[in-house]
Symmetry: C2
C-alpha cells in the first residue's frame, strides 16, 4: 500500500520523505493500516512559501467567507462522524461513545461554529476609533500559524480541526498543521473534510496545509522561520520549551500549553460535610480519559487528620475498583510509569497502583500516591512532576499555614480548585487560601473539578508559566482565544475610503461591537 | 559629596556598589554634579524581595488609591517642573522650551492622569461574564514590572515616570525602574516626587523602586528572576535582544521597543503636487529632537526622476542650513557616526553631513544619505541599520514594482507613512503599496510624518519584530497599553461574595464597561 500523502501548497502530494511510521491501537497493541511519511525539510519549505503567499490573499478575503468555511467544515465533520469516530477510537483507545461521538466531536463542531460566528460578527478585532484625532486601530491577521496538536484530543485540539485551527482561520490566517503522529489517520480524514469545505466556499486551497511528522531539528527550524506569524503548541513541557526557545529566538510569538498539576484543595469544612462525595468526584475527574486531560487533578491538598485519611482511603478504594482504561500510546504508558517513579523517588508513597496493568494494550493501574506537605516543601520541584495519566497524589499539611506554604511553592498551573463547606464553615480561611492560589492559576474554581473546560467566552484555558508561555492568553473561549493570532494595526490620518470597512465611521454590520471615542457601541 | 542613594525596599538607602558614574552635559561636555552608584546584585535581590511582597499588598489595594497616586504624582511633577526641566535639559541637551517644559512634561502628566482615569473606570480589565455558566474573567495584575527606560525621553518614557510606569501602576503592579544612566539626576528628582505621592495616598513605599545602573550580567539576571511578572524595555536592538533572550528563557513576558526606520513613501503624484512642502515637512520630522525619536524617518522612498532629485536637493539644502542640535550623549554621537558609516559601507552615498560637527558638545552634522532600490535590495540588511540621530536616507526606485520590492524587503517597523496626491492621482497605486506596507508596520499613516505619537486610545506604538517583540501590544495609548501588564484570571463557579467586585453581577461603578453574555454594557 502506498505511503499517505501530505497536504502541501494546495494539494495532496507525495511527501519528500526518507522514512515512514505507522499508528498502533493502544487498546489492543495491533498496528493499524496506513503508512505515514516523516517529511524532510523540503515539505516544510514548500508549505512555508505557500503559506506566505496565501496569507496575502486571505487578508483580502471577506470575513463572511472564512465564516462560511468554518460552518461548512463543521457540517462535513458531522457528515463523516461515523468514520471519524471509528478511526479516532482505533488510534487513541478513547471510547467511541460517549467520549468521541457524543462529547468531543460536538465540542469540535461547536468551536468551529463559534469561530464562524465570531468572524462574521467581527467584534474580536476590537475596533477602536478616535474620531477627533482620526486614529483608528484593530486586530488584524498575524500571519501563517503553525499548530502542533497534542495526543489527547484527536478532534477538539487537533492541529487541523481544533480550537487553534478555528482561531487562526477566524482571524484570517493560513494554517500549517503538524498532525499528532498518534492519530495520523484521524487527522487525514479531518483534513479531507477541510479541503472539500475550502473548495466549496472558494477559499484558496493552500489556506490549510498538513504534515504528519518531521525530525526534531526541522520542527525547530519551522517555528523559527521568518515567513510565519505565530506558533501554537499543546503538549509536553519538554517539547514545548524546546519550541519556545527556537520560536522566540527568531521573534515569532508562540503560545504554549505545556503542563499543569491542577491542584484541588479540600478545606476541612468541606471534608467534614461531604468527604465521601468528594472522593467520588475526585475519582471521576482523575480517571476521565484515563487522566489524560491537561486539567486532570494531579495534586489533592488537605489538612492531615481523620477526615483526610478517610478521603484517601475512599479514593483508593474507588480507584482499585475501576478497571484501568487504555492510555493513548505505549509511549504514554512508559512516560506515566517514569513520572510515577520519579515522584516516588522524590518521597511520594504508593497507596495503590504504580505499575502497568499487564495484559494487552497500554494500561496502567489506577494510581494514588501520598506525601506530606513537609516532604513536598523539601522537594517542591521533584514532587511537581506531572504524571500524565490515571495517577494522582494526596498531600496532607499539618495546618492551614503549611497548606498555604505548599500553594506558595507551586509553579504556574492552568487551574486550581477549592472545595469549601457549603454553610460557611471554611469562610474564615478561604480568603487567604484563595488569595495565594489565585496568582498561581489561570482559572480558579469553587466546588467544581477542573476537568470540564466549558466553551465559554469567559473561559481561561491558560495560566502562569510554565503551564503556558504567557499568562495573558487563553487557548479556549471565543473570542478571547482569537487574540493570539491578531497583530494590532493602527491607521493614523488614513483617508476614509482606504480604511478597512470595520474602521470606517459607519459600521459594516449591525452586530459588531466597536469602541468609538471611549464608548462600546454596536451597529 | 556623598554618592546618591538608590530607592530600594521602601526607602532611599546607600547602594551596594563598588563603582560610581557621573552624567555629562552633552551640549557643553561639562560633567554635572552628582555621583551615582553602579549597584551590585544585592540591590536587585533586595528590590525583588520587596517587590514580591508588595505585589501581594497591591492586589488588595483599591483601584481608587492607585488612581489617586497617579493623579497626585502628576501634580507633584508640575509643582517641580522648573527643577525637572532644568536638570533634564542639562543631562540631555534637549531644549528646555518648548520640548521639555511645554511638550514632554505635559505629555507625561497627561499619561499619568489618563492612567488614573483608566484605573478608576476599570474598563481596561475587560471583565467578561457568562451568567449562565457562572464563568467570569478579567485581566488582573501580572506581578512586579521591571522597566528599562530609554535615553531619549527623560520624562515621558522614564522608567520611574513614563508610560510604562503609568501602565504598570494602573494595573496594580509594583515597579522596579532601571533609570537610564544618561539622565540619572532627572530620574532621582522624579522618584522623589513619586515617593512623596505614594506616602500621601497611603500606598506601600516599596510600590516603586529605582536603581541607576547594574552590570550587564545583573541586568540579565534581574529580568530572568522568577519573582517578577513582566519586563518592559525601550532602547537599542542589541540590548533589547539580550534582555529578551534572558527574560524569555525564564518564561517572563518582556515587551520591547527596539528599533525602527519608519519608512516614508512619497508617491509620484504627491511629489509633483507639493514636493517643496514635503521636503520641509521631512526636514522638520527628521531633525525633531535631533532625530532621536523612535519614530524618526530613517528611510525616504520615492520613484527616481526629476521630482525625486528636486526633493533630495531641497531636503539637503534645509539640513545644511539648520544648525545641528546636540545629541543625547557622547556615546550617542559615536553610535550615530558608526551607523552612518556602516550604511556607507553598505553602498549608501553621502549627500551632506556624515561627520561630527566639531566644537564642544555632542553634535553631528545633519546628514542625508542616498542609495538606489537596486542597491538596497542587494544589501537589505546592511541598509536597514538604524542611524539614531539627525541622519536620514533617500532610496529611489526605478518604478512602482521595484518600490514595492523594497517594501517587501523591509523588516518590521513601528510606522510607515504614505504621501499621495490630494486629488486622487496616486489612488491607482496606493492600494498595492499600502497593502505591502500594512503588514510591515504597527501604524500606517497618510500624509503625516511619523514623529508625533498621539496619546490616543487608538494609538499603536508597536509593530512587527524586530521593531518590538510581539505585534499584538502597544506601549502608548491607554487603555490598550495596560494589557501588557495584565494576566487573564478566570473564576469558575466561584461564589458571588468571593468574586472581585468587578466580576459580580452588579457593577461596582457606573463608568466601567463589561461584556455580559456577549454585550458590552455599562453600569
Amino acid at each position: 500500500m502506498a505511503v499517505e500523502q501530505v497536504l502541501v501548497a494546495g494539494e495532496w502530494r507525495n511527501a519528500m520523505a526518507k522514512s515512514t511510521f505507522r499508528v498502533e491501537d493502544p487498546a489492543t497493541g495491533v498496528t493499524l493500516e496506513g503508512e505515514f511519511p516523516v517529511s524532510e525539510w523540503q515539505d516544510c519549505e514548500d508549505a512555508l512559501n505557500a503559506a506566505a503567499a496565501v496569507a496575502r490573499e486571505l487578508r483580502a478575503a471577506p470575513a463572511e467567507r472564512l465564516a462560511d468555511f468554518l460552518d461548512l467544515y463543521a457540517k462535513k465533520i458531522e457528515e463523516n462522524a461515523a468514520a471519524l469516530v471509528s478511526i479516532a477510537n482505533a488510534e487513541t483507545g478513547l471510547a467511541a461513545s460517549p467520549r468521541l461521538r457524543d462529547v468531543e466531536l460536538p465540542r469540535t463542531t461547536t468551536q468551529l461554529r463559534q469561530g464562524a460566528a465570531a468572524a462574521r460578527e467581527g467584534s474580536w478585532t476590537q475596533a477602536v476609533i478616535d474620531t477627533k484625532a482620526n486614529i483608528r486601530s484593530h486586530y488584524a491577521p498575524i500571519g501563517p500559524v503553525v499548530i502542533f496538536g497534542p495526543n489527547n484530543f484527536p478532534f477538539a485540539f487537533n492541529g487541523i480541526s481544533g480550537g487553534d485551527l478555528t482561531a487562526a482561520i477566524a482571524t484570517g490566517n493560513p494554517v500549517i498543521a503538524k498532525a499528532n503522529p498518534l492519530h495520523a489517520g484521524t487527522s487525514k480524514l479531518l483534513a479531507e473534510c477541510a479541503v472539500a469545505a475550502l473548495a466549496q466556499v472558494g477559499l484558496p486551497p493552500a489556506t490549510l496545509q498538513m504534515i504528519y511528522r518531521t525530525s526534531k531539528e526541522d520542527g525547530l527550524r519551522l517555528v523559527s522561520d521568518s515567513r510565519i506569524g505565530a506558533v501554537s503548541f499543546t503538549g509536553s513541557r519538554e517539547a514545548g520549551l524546546r519550541l519556545k526557545a527556537a520560536a522566540e529566538s527568531a521573534g515569532n510569538p508562540i503560545y504554549l500549553e505545556m503542563s499543569s498539576l491542577n491542584p484541588v484543595i479540600l478545606l476541612p469544612g468541606a471534608l467534614a460535610e461531604r468527604g465521601e462525595q468528594l472522593a467520588a468526584e475526585l475519582a471521576d475527574s482523575c480517571l476521565a480519559a484515563s487522566g489524560q486531560f491537561c486539567t486532570s487533578p494531579n495534586l489533592i491538598l488537605m489538612i492531615a487528620g481523620e477526615a483526610a485519611e478517610r478521603l484517601a482511603a475512599n479514593l483508593a478504594e474507588i480507584l482499585d475498583k475501576r478497571p484501568p482504561a487504555p492510555l493513548l500510546s505505549a509511549g504514554g504508558l512508559k512516560g506515566l510509569d517514569e513520572s510515577v517513579h520519579a515522584l516516588i523517588d522524590s518521597g511520594a508513597k504508593v497507596v495503590t497502583g504504580a505499575e502497568p496493568a499487564g495484559g494487552c494494550g497500554c494500561r496502567y493501574k489506577n494510581t494514588l500516591l501520598r506525601t506530606t506537605a513537609t516532604q513536598f516543601l523539601a522537594q517542591p520541584e521533584g514532587l511537581q512532576r506531572e504524571a500524565f495519566g490515571n495517577a494522582t497524589m494526596v498531600v496532607t499539611a499539618a495546618d492551614i499555614a503549611q497548606l498555604r506554604q505548599v500553594i506558595e511553592a507551586l509553579e504556574g498551573n492552568l487551574t486550581g480548585s477549592i472545595y469549601s463547606n457549603l454553610n460557611g464553615e471554611d469562610d474564615a480561611i478561604y480568603a487567604g487560601v484563595a488569595g495565594d492560589l489565585r496568582f498561581k492559576v489561570g482559572r480558579l474554581l469553587n466546588d467544581r473539578m477542573p476537568t470540564g473546560v466549558a466553551l465559554s467566552p469567559a473561559m481561561n484555558h491558560g495560566g502562569p508559566y510554565p503551564a503556558t508561555g504567557h499568562p495573558g492568553f487563553t487557548s479556549v473561549g471565543i473570542p478571547a482565544s482569537l487574540l493570539r493570532f491578531g497583530a494590532l494595526h493602527c491607521y493614523d490620518n488614513v483617508r476614509s475610503d482606504r480604511l478597512p470597512a470595520v474602521l470606517r465611521d459607519k459600521s459594516p454590520n449591525a452586530a459588531m461591537w466597536r469602541r468609538i471615542d471611549g464608548a462600546w457601541t454596536r451597529g
